[in-house]
Subunit: 489 residues, 2 copies
Amino acid sequence: LFQCCASCNCGLDPKKRDMLMKLEELRRTGGAVELDEREKLLDAKLRKLQEHEMKAGPFPPSMHFFKAKPLIEQSPIFSLLQKMPKGGALHVHDFGIVGVEWLVKNVTYRENCYVCFTNEVFVQFIFSSGQPAPRPLCSRWTLLRSLREKTKNITDLDNSFIRNLTLFTEDPDRAYPSQDVVWKRFEKAFLGAYGLVTYAPVFKDYLYEGLRQFYVDNIMYVEIRALLPATYELDGRLNDKQWSMQACQEVVRRFTAHYPDFVGARVIFTVHRGVNATVAIKAVEEAMTLQRNFPDTMAGFDFVGQEDLGRPLWYFKDALSLPEQRGVDLPYFFHAGETDSQGTEVDQNLMDAILFNTTRIGHGFALARHPVVKDMSRKMDVPVEVCPISNQVLKLVSDLRNHPAAMLMAEGHPLVISSDDPALFGSSGLSHDFYEAFMGFGGMSFNLGTLKELVLNSLRYSSLPSQTKEKAIAALLVKWDKFVLESLL
Amino acid sequence: LFQCCASCNCGLDPKKRDMLMKLEELRRTGGAVELDEREKLLDAKLRKLQEHEMKAGPFPPSMHFFKAKPLIEQSPIFSLLQKMPKGGALHVHDFGIVGVEWLVKNVTYRENCYVCFTNEVFVQFIFSSGQPAPRPLCSRWTLLRSLREKTKNITDLDNSFIRNLTLFTEDPDRAYPSQDVVWKRFEKAFLGAYGLVTYAPVFKDYLYEGLRQFYVDNIMYVEIRALLPATYELDGRLNDKQWSMQACQEVVRRFTAHYPDFVGARVIFTVHRGVNATVAIKAVEEAMTLQRNFPDTMAGFDFVGQEDLGRPLWYFKDALSLPEQRGVDLPYFFHAGETDSQGTEVDQNLMDAILFNTTRIGHGFALARHPVVKDMSRKMDVPVEVCPISNQVLKLVSDLRNHPAAMLMAEGHPLVISSDDPALFGSSGLSHDFYEAFMGFGGMSFNLGTLKELVLNSLRYSSLPSQTKEKAIAALLVKWDKFVLESLL
Ligand SMILES: [Zn+2]
Ligand SMILES: [Zn+2]
């Protein structure tokens, strides 16, 4: 009957019309989720909130996040989403997971922290037992403790650091007229945090604090795309990637010991997509070694950096063929389609990600423009990691109702919601992105079932081994029922 | 083989990769068009221009049309598109087809033209043999000839009229912060033109000039959505819809007699979607009468006005069921899905348009978010009339690369490109919209085959009777070959 309805003109029979509407609903993400009685009650409550929010003045998903944020934070839907157990965050980057307040108020107040200024605007930091060697294009290194002693308004100084380390600005359209400009600014913010986070003792604390902030946002599992850069000690001695992986493993164990309902964290080793073929081969070899040495913590491999300016995946084909040639299973988690170039070499990345057997697709913003790749991704159950706020701030889309994930979710394409670099955008672990996705991609057409499916997807599509995954999903469902019950009180 | 390729992981075989790319190409609008030797040469030339334009500085489709327009007009691709025979313009409105320069420089200079000012900003015009009766909220009517005699700078005055009658402004983001604001301004501009265009002698000239401007833009056929308002004579006497249809018929005959390669124009009678059920029934009855009396000129029926604020199609179900009940064939051409409300009553219009057996869908901006309706539209070969510049100016999308038609074209959905109200946006008949669609929706992935298919679609999906349609397509193909040849010189 459904088949008939969809394939022929059914005229004006209201019953058939209802059936077609039901058919559309069933196709949607979460549209086939059956809600129990309690969930239905919460869904009815949610529906009223949605109706109110669609009508009440400026609609946050249509605005730039920097302007929408205060509105979102007043929304009762947002506070519901904060309380909701959100499962896993599958697309976040090292250097982008800890709110920068913590970096400035905690890390820069530690002993032996030096600062220098480039162009009198941007800052870099370093920890050192003595005066650090000067850097090109940077002022003389100043010990932050001395600088603070000489500074009248320390709050202003700290706020200027905070502004440096995030992309926030009152007038983003003016400050960031193009993708290239905002990406440059983005990389500067990364560089600012770099000297703080790669200091070996901070590295561990940073990771721990990152997990804590995600945990507080009701997230029970994280997969971190990590450059695993060399960390340094106070005397300038460098630690290698093995050290960093060891540190990750140790921090995660310590964290899960403190918070037993936290499932854990895994690392996707990443390399900048600007590297040449030789460096890429070395990186893939390193990834295979890490995979062998840290099978529990290491999840796989990916490239990072602005896709339009980097090298396409096909350029790296020799490196990416290595694992299969050597009989090693190295899962890939490629960023692909984070672009609006159409029909160029870069626009080929989505197809190549699938051909290289990627486990998930990072962003996949361009996927809806590639119907063949979209079909393959669906048939092979390769989900897209959708990061709404990141795509908006990095200028792929302004009004989030036009985000292509709205179409993907309308047809129930496998996907998860993530936050990319929440620290740089000023968002929380996942709650702000969930708000944008829920209200922006679906409006009144999404419901509690949508949320439940998204949350379950975040564990289903994780790289967790199957037994752990099953346990995690069971634990999530217990949390979910508790959330539903408490939200009805 | 293709089937296999799309459904399984094909690994790294470059041949299979090429095949998948070919498969994507074949799905695209025009991807299966076979180009002859000459067309291939022109396509190669076009490809170079596309490459250059993708790299050369700010990309016009990513900018607001008011800022992009001067850039577009310098583009060699645009001048190619101007010369290209574009077939038919299937979605344009009366009051929006003649560049306002003509209204101001020609019509307002005619005898007996009065002007009044509302809020000292907006203008209204009327022709009258004596002093016209005052209008609420409007200054005293002034004879334009007297006003011009008293005015020092007539150019300034005329330019202020021109600004009134279009939406153009240097800073559209500031002037039009929301859809409601820009729609209000849009309706004010319509009101400004109303008193000029509905003056009976002007009505005919306006239509003739409209056809001429489209003809100059290499368009051979037009379907005009027309409110068919009462026209007035100098003494205030009113003419009815029959008069207007008669006038249309006469003007089209006169025009085609002058320009024998122009195929003609047909009228889609439209009513504002704010009317109540009773008025709608009357309108549909009028439409049936016009259809009987002017079978060659009258094409069908539609509703107009801001979809979000108007009544949904389902509200009009009794009126829309009338023709079938009376055994009359009244084709529908519904505006539907010109909205970004999701899951609301208005968002149901797309499905209802299909259920009411619409011949084409006006805009269908939301279609990609309705996979069931999308499938039906494809299977029933109901095309979407895509109006890129209109959707951008009316704030459905800012960067045209994110227009959902990019996805529809990637999967070869039936569609045509049109211009809605070119006079109000400052665009030409179809060339500017073709530029935005070609470069914005496809970038490097579109080619000459895309253009050929779009151009053929514009006649294939017209309401012309089949014999006339076949002749028109044959004539278009002759024009096309001439265009290809001349563009190679
Ligand atoms: Zn990322
Ligand atoms: Zn229209």
